[in-house]
Amino acid sequence: MNVILTAVIVLGAVGLIAAVVLFFVSKKFAVKEDPRIALVNEVLPGANCGGCGFPGCGGMASACVKAADSGSLEGLNCPVGGSAVMSQVASILGMEAAVSDPKVAVVRCNGSCENRPRIAEYDGLKTCRVVHSCGAGETGCGNGCLGCGDCVAACKFDAIHINPSTGIPEVDEEKCVACGACVKACPRNIIELRLKGKNNRRVWVGCVNQDKGPAAMKACKVSCIACGKCVKECKFDAIAIQGNVSYIDDEKCKACRACMKVCPRECIYDANFPKSIKEVMKAEAERKAAAEAKAKAEAEKSAAQNVTETKPKEKEE
């Protein structure tokens, strides 16, 4: 009995002392975390994709709180949640959200098997990084898509897939959150984050081939040859030629598609327009032809009238 009592007393005393020590230590070395960080973290999507540039949503939350303390949320954006989440974050922190337009990943290559003939067979490790580092790949284009799917492996949202019939990745607009993982994974900088545009309508140059005209033309049927027709056609000064490739500035582009009408290589693409540019051009041509026919008919009619008007005179004479 005595032994049990001693044990209880000793253990109790040890426990008590430890409790007191722990109490003071926890007071002394307490890590003060801003309660707002937890609140912000709660409204963030929790995808931990790193698209914002911080390591996971926790990093983003503390960055937001820090930025709020220094006065502005500018430059911080959650690509997954978009402006809805950012305005929630802003309201928690008592700030105004910096509005940013939604973006989407765009694949700037259409070098399918049909458009871009294969000139060699690659036999090594099938990842884009390795193929890119050991040569130009299976085609004559040193800038185009290699089709091994590094972007597919990088995507955490199942938003990009290789189309088996073309061998080129396609972005699922609904799922893409513009985190930029595929942009980083692509060794050839083919994928770009572009503004979704008004009503999701956007126009882009789907080629990054930097070869001069003849070489580019030989490598692919739908390559940009930097002819500059689109640059001349654009009324908004949105298109420029950089390094033998034409590039449309998405901030300036008004999606009028005038450039698409003149592109001889058909390498400018659009998305979410109700009618394809070919249909529009066909309709325009028909309208024009109809108008011309009408004008011609009218001209003939008036000419005929003139004739009928003049004929009686002749008779009179």
């Binding site: 000139i119 060699a120 090594g124 490790l125 580092s133 040569g135 790949g137 299976e138 040193g142 070489a215």
Partner: protein, 448 residues
């Protein structure tokens, strides 16, 4: 017989063109000169479109310290300065020349007379190095490092000997062997020049024992010259690697990068480079032609050619009986270290020692299977690395770990992949890891 002490493999030799005497290749109709034929900055063109050039006219000057000038190998008119698909598969800037006749610059001594170092006391080490630099001589073994830089070692290191790499351990290639058999006197003068340039009085020539005639020839010619020693070596790949050759010949091991062979006292030069140095210094002839082997099991007449640089490879293949039927793999270099090409129009450059055509099963890789941890790659690695681990870490993008595992020591010889019974693409993975880690190290030291 000596060889290097760690790892190595012995691939089938297939030296098909061993006893085929060298013939000059036909002049091309149009010669193409890529501006980046060496390691370092691309050369800068100094000619304009329409300009007349002769054989030996300067086309492009060195574009930086680590760079080399490029000379015309033909006479004619500059057609254009455009791009060409080079050995990397990418389009790179190049000068095109339409060939007319064969007129040489008058400064070049075209006689066959052998000039010896004893007859030219005016050649100081500085003068030799300067002439080598002006002539645009780069390593002729394949990597193409500007030779004059190797001849001016950093002040922290002191050279004690020159080692001539006449190993030719790559299967199929015979261009160095033919050069040795046909130009032995010139090569020996070239070695004298190299020894004088780096101020040493000891030279070695490392020759693998599958070339007994070359060993006998050099032993006989150097009988009265004890300062230059012929070292017969056991056949083993990659004995032609600088570090392996230093180990095999003088039994010293070069420490891990950034150490280079001169840190243990050796200046290693290819036998082709020794000949190019002779021609540059004694004959005032810039580097514009070289010995090239054209070979392959299905090639009708494998041969060796003295080729003017800028000649498209297809012309050489046609001279040997044309491209075999079916799917072939065209390599600039040998089957171990050579670069697979995507175009037959790629021009011969300073580093092109061979045009190899692999056909049928030789051209294709076998399907990879899972690693069985047999560690054959570990025994084969001549740098003492663990290839299976490096490949795995590369795949998992563990760059920090890779740096600790000394991936930057890898010489990309491919012995690991050659020996792997599961046909795993080890080198593909390691190479990507190595370039990434080197990039990380460079950006880190740039920050400092």
């Amino acid at each position: 017989m000596r060889t290097f002490r760690i790892g190595g493999v012995h691939p089938e030799e297939n030296k098909l063109s061993h006893e085929v005497a060298t013939v000059p290749a036909e002049l091309p109709k149009q010669a193409v000169f890529p501006l980046s034929q060496h390691i370092g900055a691309p050369a800068k063109p100094v000619v304009e479109r329409g300009q007349e050039v002769k054989v030996g006219t300067l086309l492009a000057e060195a574009g930086g310290f680590v760079s080399a000038p490029i000379y015309s190998s033909v006479s004619g008119k500059v057609a254009k300065i455009d791009t060409v698909v080079d050995a990397t598969g990418y389009r790179k800037p190049a000068i095109y020349i339409n060939v007319v006749g064969d007129e040489w610059e008058e400064s070049i001594d075209r006689s066959d007379k052998l000039e010896t170092l004893a007859a030219h006391p005016e050649l100081t080490p500085e003068e030799i190095i300067n002439r080598v630099k002006v002539a645009g001589v780069t390593g002729m073994g394949g990597a193409g490092f500007p030779t004059f830089i190797k001849l001016t070692p950093p002040p922290t290191a002191k050279a004690t000997c020159v080692i001539i790499n006449a190993v030719e351990c790559e299967p199929y290639i015979t261009s160095d062997y033919r050069l040795m058999m046909e130009k032995s006197d010139e090569i020996i003068v070239g070695i004298d020049l190299l020894m004088k340039a780096v101020k040493v009085d000891k030279g070695y020539i490392g020759i693998e024992c599958n070339k007994p005639k070359a060993i006998d020839l050099f032993k006989q010619k150097l009988a009265s010259r004890p300062e230059i020693e012929v070292v017969p070596l056991q056949q083993r790949y990659p004995q032609g690697g600088e570090k392996q050759l230093v180990d095999a010949v003088i039994r010293r091991q070069v420490p891990a990068p950034p150490a280079i062979p001169v840190n243990v006292g050796a200046v290693v030069q290819n036998v082709g480079t020794a000949f190019a140095v002779y021609e540059a210094v004694m004959k005032h002839k810039p580097l514009f032609e070289r010995y090239v082997t054209v070979t392959g099991k299905k090639i009708a007449h494998p041969g060796n050619f003295l080729v003017r640089m800028g000649t498209p490879m297809i012309q050489l293949i046609d001279a040997c009986g044309g491209m075999p039927e079916g799917d072939n793999k065209l390599l600039a270099g040998g089957p171990m270290m050579g670069k697979a090409l995507t175009s037959v129009e790629v021009p011969v450059c300073k580093g092109t020692n061979s045009v190899t055509v692999l056909s049928g099963d030789d051209a294709k890789r076998k399907a990879p299977q899972p690693c069985i941890r047999c560690a054959k790659c570990v025994s084969a690695c001549p740098m003492g690395l663990e290839p299976y681990l490096l490949a795995k870490l590369s795949d998992k993008e563990e760059w920090g770990r890779l740096e600790k595992e000394m991936i930057t020591s890898c010489i990309e010889c491919g012995s690991c992949q050659f020996t792997c019974p599961a046909h795993r693409p080890l080198l593909d993975n390691i190479r990507i890891g190595k370039t990434t880690v080197m990039g990380i190290i460079r950006s880190r030291s740039a920050k400092k």
